[in-house]
C-alpha cells in the first residue's frame, strides 16, 4: 500500500512503500538461470567438470555430509515451523512476486529433499510434510532459485530462530558444484583469483601501470605526489581491496581516497600483486576449501611483504569474510602488530585518523551532492567495525558526515540491520541475471526515490564493489544517472586537504576540522 503523506510540500501525496508486498506471481522467475560453468571452470576448483552419472546419489550423500559438518545447516533444516515471518523480507520476492523467492520457500526447495531422504516423516509420509524425490526437475529448480539469493541475510534478522537462508543457499550451491553443475560467473572468477590473484585477471604489469596512472592523476589534481605502492617490502600496512577498485567506476575514485588518507596519515603501505583481491567468491559457492585457499593468499602476501597490519578496502562480502572468517581460515595472525584490529577496515582506519584530528577537510567540496548511504548487506549483517556492536553502521556515517554537509537517511526499515541488498550480491552480478538484478534492486530504489522526493537526495554512497557496480548499472532504469552511486572514500577524496595541496579557488576556503559535529 502506498502511504499517504499529509505534510508533503505540495499538499498530500502518496509515497510508494519500498517494502510493499506484491501479489504472488507463481513461477514467474522460473526461467531465470545463470550460464553454467564450463568443465574447465569446475575442475580448477576441484569439482567434476560435468554432471555426474550418479549425481542423485552423490547429491543426497552430500546433504548428509554437510549436515554433519555444519550445525547451522542441520538445525535450519529441522527448525523451521513455516510461521511465515520471513515471507515478505527478501528483496527478490518483493521485486518479483515469485513465491519461491520467499526465504522459507527457497529453503524448502532443499528441505523437501532433505526430508525425503533423512527424516522419518519424509521417508514414510512424504505427502504429509511436503517431501519430494531429488529429480532432474528439482535440480534445475535449485539451479534457478539458489541463484536468485544474494545471501544477504535479511531473512535471518527476522526469523524467530535465526534461520539464515544464506547458509542453505551456499550449501545448495556446494551440492550442485559437487555433482558437476557450477555457475560460470562464480567458478570462472574463483579460478582466476586462485591462478592470478584477483577476480579480474589483472597481471602485475597491468596493475603497476594502472596505479602509476592514478598517481599521475592525483598529482595533476592536487599538486601533491601521493604514492600507490605495489609489493613494497617492509611497508607497515598491506591494503587488500577488491580488484574492481583498480578498474571500475566509481570504485577507482574510492581507491584514490584510500591513497590520500594513507598519505596524509603518514603511514607506509602497499598493495600486493599476489593477493590483489579482497572479494572472496568461495563464500558465494559455500566452499570452505576454496574460500580458505583464497584467504591463504592474503596471509602469504602479508608474510612475504613483512607488513605489520592488514587493511581491507570497501567491499561487502570481502569484509564479511575478512572480519568474521579470516582468523578462522588463515589465522592465527600472530606475526602482525597486535595493537591494531586484524584485519582492519579502511573506514575504521580513516575514522580513527579523523578522530585524532590528523585529517583536514573542505566539506564544501561535496556541496554539489545531496547524499544518502546504502548499508551493504554483508557489512551490516555479517561483520562489524570498531569496538561496539553496530559500529558498522555508525563509522561509515561518521566519516560521511565529516566530509559532507548534506546527508539524509533512508526509511529506517531499509537501513542498518534491516538494509536491503543492492540486488547483485552473492554471485548474481552477472549480465545473464539482469532481470532478477533489476527486480531485486527495486525495493532499495523505491527507498531512494522517497528521500529524493522528501529531501532532494541526488546521490547514494556505498562501501561495496558489488553494490557500486550493480547500482551504476540499474540506477538508470529508476531515473537516476549512472554516476549517482559513489564510493564513501570518493567523498573523502573530494574533501580532503593534503599538506601542500594546491587549491583552485582563492581565497582559501574556511577549513572545518573533521572531528566537529557533522550535519544530518
Amino acid at each position: 500500500m502506498a502511504i499517504l503523506d499529509m505534510d508533503g510540500e505540495d499538499g498530500p501525496k502518496f509515497i510508494p512503500d519500498p517494502l510493499k508486498i506484491p501479489k504472488l506471481a507463481c513461477d514467474s522467475m522460473a526461467d531465470s538461470a545463470p550460464y553454467p560453468a564450463y568443465p574447465e571452470h569446475n575442475m580448477k576448483l576441484g569439482f567434476p567438470g560435468e554432471l555426474l552419472d550418479n549425481w542423485q546419489e552423490v547429491a543426497i550423500a552430500k546433504i548428509g555430509d554437510l549436515a554433519s559438518k555444519n550445525r547451522a545447516f542441520q538445525v535450519y533444516l529441522d527448525a523451521c515451523v513455516k510461521c511465515g515471518a520471513c515471507t515478505d523480507k527478501c528483496h527478490y520476492f518483493l521485486g518479483s512476486g515469485d513465491p519461491k523467492n520467499m526465504p522459507v520457500a527457497r529453503q524448502d526447495l532443499l528441505r523437501s529433499v532433505y526430508r525425503r531422504y533423512y527424516t522419518f516423516a519424509g521417508k514414510y509420509f512424504p505427502w504429509l510434510v511436503g517431501a519430494r524425490d531429488l529429480t532432474r526437475e528439482v535440480l534445475d529448480e535449485w539451479y534457478s532459485y539458489y541463484h536468485q539469493c544474494s545471501q544477504c541475510r535479511r531473512c535471518s534478522v527476522f526469523c524467530p530462530y535465526g534461520i539464515d537462508t544464506a547458509e542453505i543457499s551456499m550449501a545448495a550451491r556446494e551440492i550442485m558444484d559437487t555433482v558437476g553443475i557450477g555457475q560460470k560467473y562464480c567458478n570462472e572468477i574463483i579460478g582466476k583469483a586462485l591462478e592470478i590473484g584477483n577476480n579480474l585477471g589483472l597481471q602485475e604489469k597491468a596493475l603497476r601501470a594502472t596505479l602509476e596512472d592514478l598517481e599521475e592523476d592525483i598529482e595533476d589534481e592536487t599538486g601533491v605526489s601521493v604514492r600507490i605502492p605495489v609489493d613494497e617490502k617492509g611497508a607497515d600496512i598491506l591494503l587488500i581491496t577488491p580488484s574492481a577498485d583498480f578498474f571500475a567506476e566509481p570504485h577507482i575514485d574510492g581507491l584514490i581516497g584510500y591513497a590520500k588518507v594513507f598519505h596524509q596519515a603518514g603511514v607506509s603501505w602497499t598493495v600486493s600483486s599476489y593477493a590483489s583481491e579482497a572479494a572472496n567468491f568461495g563464500l558465494f559457492i559455500g566452499s570452505y576449501e576454496n574460500m580458505r585457499d583464497l584467504a591463504l593468499r592474503i596471509r602469504r602476501a602479508a608474510e612475504d611483504l613483512g607488513v605489520k597490519r592488514i587493511v581491507f578496502g570497501e567491499c561487502g562480502h570481502a569484509w564479511r569474510v575478512a572480519y568474521s572468517f579470516l582468523n578462522t581460515l588463515a589465522g592465527p595472525f600472530d606475526f602482525l602488530d597486535q595493537n591494531y584490529p586484524i584485519p582492519q577496515h579502511i573506514l575504521e582506519f580513516t575514522w580513527d585518523q579523523i578522530e585524532r584530528g590528523n585529517l583536514k577537510f573542505d566539506k564544501t567540496k561535496n556541496d554539489h551532492l545531496r547524499l544518502t548511504y546504502h548499508d551493504s548487506c554483508n557489512v551490516a549483517r555479517g561483520s562489524r567495525m570498531g569496538d561496539k556492536p553496530g559500529g558498522q553502521f555508525e563509522i561509515p556515517r561518521n566519516v560521511i558526515k565529516a566530509v559532507c554537509n548534506n546527508y539524509f537517511e533512508m526509511d529506517r526499515d531499509t537501513t542498518k540491520e534491516s538494509t536491503l541488498c543492492c540486488g547483485g550480491g552473492g554471485g548474481l552480478l552477472t549480465d545473464d541475471l539482469m532481470d532478477i538484478r533489476v527486480k531485486g534492486a527495486s525495493p532499495r530504489m523505491t527507498a531512494l526515490q522517497q528521500v529524493t522526493q522528501d529531501h532532494g537526495v541526488t546521490h547514494m554512497a556505498a562501501i561495496c564493489a558489488i553494490c557500486k557496480t550493480q547500482f551504476a548499472k540499474v540506477m538508470p532504469k529508476f531515473g537516476y544517472e549512472r554516476d549517482s552511486i559513489l564510493s564513501v572514500h570518493q567523498l573523502v577524496s573530494n574533501a580532503i586537504l593534503l599538506d601542500g595541496q594546491i587549491t583552485d579557488d582563492a581565497p582559501v576556503p574556511e577549513l572545518e576540522m573533521a572531528n566537529e559535529e557533522g550535519t544530518s
Binding site: S68, A79, P160
Partner: protein, 239 residues
C-alpha cells in the same frame, strides 16, 4: 483401556525423552565451521545470554518481523507454558506451592492458548503467502494442538472428569503401577492427542524448541577478530 493408555504413555515418554535427547546430542556434536552471528551481535557470552533470553521469552525477532504472528504465537506459547505448569498438580503430591499459585492463571491461559492457535490457523488459511508454504502437516499440527486444548477445556468447564482418579492414574504410572483411568471421552481424546504430540515431537518441526539454542546466528559471540574459531574437521585441513 487403562493398560492401553498406560503403555501408550510409557511409549510416548520414551520416544520424547530418547528422541529429543538423540537430536540434541546430534546438534551439540555437529560443529559450526564459521562464525555467523547475525550482526549486530553481542561481543560477550553474557550479552549472548541476554539476546537468547529475549528471543525465548519475548520472541524479539518475530516481534520485529510481523506483529500478527507475534501476537498469536505469543498468546499460544505463554498460554501453553502456564497450562503446562498448572498440569504439574496431576503428577506431584504434595503440590508445590508455586503450582497452586499458577493455578488460576492456568485456567485463563487456556483461552489465550486457544485464541492463539485459532489465529495462527486462520492466518495459515487466509494469508496467501503462508498458505503457499504450508504442508498438510502444518495444518494437522495446529489441529492437534487445538484438539488438545478443546478436550482439556471441555473437561475443565463443561463436562468435568474424575480428576482425582486421573491423578491417581498418573502417580501410579510414576511408580510403575497401573491404576484405573476414568473413561470420559474428553479425557481419552485429550490424553491420546497429548501422547501423539509427545511421540512426534522429536521428528517434527517442534524441534524449533531445542533448535533455537543451537542456532549459530543467535548463540554465537561476535569476537572473531579476537578469538580464533576452528572446527575440528577444518583443523584437519591445516595439517
Amino acid at each position: 483401556m487403562s493398560t492401553l493408555y498406560a503403555l501408550l504413555f510409557y511409549f510416548a515418554t520414551i520416544m520424547l525423552v530418547v528422541g529429543l535427547g538423540l537430536r540434541i546430542a546430534k546438534y551439540a556434536r555437529t560443529p559450526a565451521p564459521l562464525k555467523i552471528p547475525t550482526m549486530p551481535a553481542p561481543t560477550t557470552r553474557s550479552g549472548v545470554f541476554w539476546r537468547m533470553s529475549r528471543e525465548v521469552l519475548v520472541f524479539e525477532s518475530l516481534f520485529k518481523s510481523n506483529k500478527w504472528i507475534w501476537v498469536f504465537g505469543y498468546m499460544f506459547h505463554v498460554g501453553l507454558a502456564l497450562v503446562l505448569l498448572r498440569h504439574f498438580r496431576y503428577f506431584i503430591e504434595p503440590i508445590w506451592f508455586w503450582v497452586n499459585w499458577v493455578q488460576p492463571f492456568g485456567i485463563y491461559a487456556s483461552f489465550a492458548l486457544l485464541i492463539g492457535l485459532l489465529g495462527l490457523l486462520v492466518r495459515r488459511i487466509v494469508v496467501e503467502r503462508i498458505r503457499y508454504i504450508s504442508s498438510p502437516s502444518d495444518y494437522l499440527m495446529l489441529l492437534l494442538l487445538i484438539g488438545i486444548a478443546l478436550s482439556g477445556m471441555n473437561m475443565k468447564f463443561l463436562a468435568p472428569t474424575d480428576i482425582v482418579a486421573v491423578k491417581v492414574f498418573f502417580l501410579g504410572l510414576l511408580r510403575l503401577q497401573i491404576n484405573e483411568l476414568p473413561t470420559s471421552a474428553s479425557l481419552l481424546v485429550h490424553l491420546g492427542l497429548v501422547a501423539t504430540l509427545m511421540i512426534i515431537f522429536p521428528i517434527s518441526k517442534l524441534l524449533h524448541g531445542p533448535g533455537i539454542f543451537f542456532s549459530p546466528t543467535r548463540y554465537q559471540v561476535d569476537n572473531s577478530r579476537e578469538k580464533r574459531h576452528l572446527a575440528p574437521w577444518a583443523a584437519e585441513l591445516e595439517k
